[in-house]
């Protein structure tokens, strides 16, 4: 967090059908609808999140991710980061306050992998959902489905990982927690963080720019991941793989798809990192084990199914 970038703030996801998508993200994942706007976008949050929203759904004729945003500590840090990005040669777009309801001004930029990111300092603080700020209970009643705890990270596919790394590490102050190297020493996957989590954002090398692999939500326990798997079956939701464990991060996970084909993950556990930790390295020859620790081989979909 050395440059003031604090944590993931929100992700805007395109969906083919809003009603189907909303049912998936609320009834199954357990996110809570907090608002809608006149563009038809729907705002959602997970119950432990303190700001008004972390997921925005937008109906469009192709699914995928519009952008992911990080919250920075304050306006001063935002101004400095903006200057640093411009000095680094990154084109920065201004998004005025209120373009997303109850969110302050954002700056938006596209990194060489082809993905759009945003930084912002202010969003309406609504507190955790269903519990009080003082003497809070352990959890609120009335949560649905998987009862997602928080929006945790995204995994994105695109080219030019090295140039993307430079922006995240050298300009935005991220730290490389884990990587996959090919035999020539090229980084084909990079897991970057501004926190103690193994990733706040991750990239895997792919020829086509700007592809979305998954948005991930945190659960507390392995039991919760197994329960999520039960719910995926009960609702006849499209499953990808799991429950299983990743080698990278060692998180326990399940992958599935929203009704528009965007991949979601819910997971628990995972390693921690501090800025003095050296990156954990996986060799590309061990990619199967790095991704799916139990099967030790990739399913075809992991590399090819993207939105």
């Amino acid at each position: 967090m050395k440059k003031g970038v604090m944590r993931p703030g929100h992700v805007q996801i395109r969906v083919l059908d809003m009603d189907e998508a909303l049912k998936h993200y609320t009834d199954l994942l357990g996110l809570i609808e907090t608002d809608r706007d006149d563009q038809g976008r729907v705002y959602l949050k997970a119950w432990t999140e303190v700001d008004k929203f972390s997921v925005v759904l937008r109906e469009a004729d192709e699914p995928g991710m519009d952008f992911m945003a990080f919250k920075v500590v304050d306006e001063t840090a935002l101004q400095q980061l903006e200057k640093d990005l411009v000095a680094f040669g990154v084109e920065v777009e201004q998004i005025p306050e209120g373009e997303l309801k109850d969110c302050g001004r954002r700056i938006r930029f596209t990194v060489p992998s082809g993905h759009a990111f945003e930084l912002f300092a202010d969003k309406l603080y609504t507190g955790k959902w269903g519990v009080t700020d003082v003497n809070p209970e352990a959890w609120p009643r009335g949560l649905q489905g998987m009862k997602a705890v928080r929006f945790d990270h995204c995994l994105l596919y695109g080219p030019e990982l090295a140039a993307t790394y430079d922006i995240f590490v050298n300009v935005l102050g991220f730290h490389l927690a884990e990587q996959v190297l090919d035999p020539e020493g090229n980084r084909i996957a990079q897991f970057l963080t501004v926190s103690m989590k193994e990733h706040d954002i991750a990239f895997i090398h792919h020829e086509e720019k700007g592809k979305f692999h998954h948005a991930s939500f945190f659960l507390e326990t392995w039991e919760d991941v197994l329960r999520a798997a039960d719910l995926i079956t009960m609702t006849d939701t499209s499953i990808d793989i799991g429950p299983t464990r990743h080698g990278l991060t060692h998180g326990k996970t399940i992958y599935f798809f929203d009704p528009s084909g965007n991949r979601n993950e819910v997971f628990c556990g995972g390693d921690y990192t501090y800025p003095d930790h050296k990156p954990v390295t996986w060799q590309a020859e061990q990619l199967g084990k790095a991704i799916f620790y139990h099967d030790r081989q990739l399913n075809e979909r992991f590399l090819t199914v993207l939105t």
Partner: protein
């Protein structure tokens, strides 16, 4: 008795039964076949693209990047988003070299 439809995939020569209201891809998966590649099952990833050579069907929403309007006019569809209304002859698209995690 419910009327069912027979779906014939030309490359593999495989055929399977599809019930009304069921997507072609789902019917294929249920019968343990793999003649069309299975991805997201939501019309988003494009993996299950096929061309319909004969027969009638209804379409659900499909990603426009994978099925632009001119492709749709040529009978190119996503098998996870078509619901047959008669027997169908379908053909898998030639598999392009899809993304590899290599430089």
């Amino acid at each position: 008795m419910v009327q069912t439809f027979r779906i014939c995939e030309q490359h593999s020569g495989r055929s399977f039964i599809c019930e009304p209201g069921q997507s072609v891809l789902k019917a294929m998966e249920q019968q343990g076949l793999r003649c069309v590649p299975v991805g997201c099952r939501g019309g988003g990833c494009g993996l299950c693209k096929v061309r319909v050579l004969a027969g009638d069907y209804e379409c659900g929403k499909m990603s426009r990047v994978h099925i632009p309007p001119d492709a749709l006019a040529k009978g190119e569809v996503l098998a996870c988003r078509i619901y047959p209304q008669s027997d169908l002859a379908i053909e898998c698209q030639p598999q392009q070299a899809v993304g590899q995690v290599t430089k």
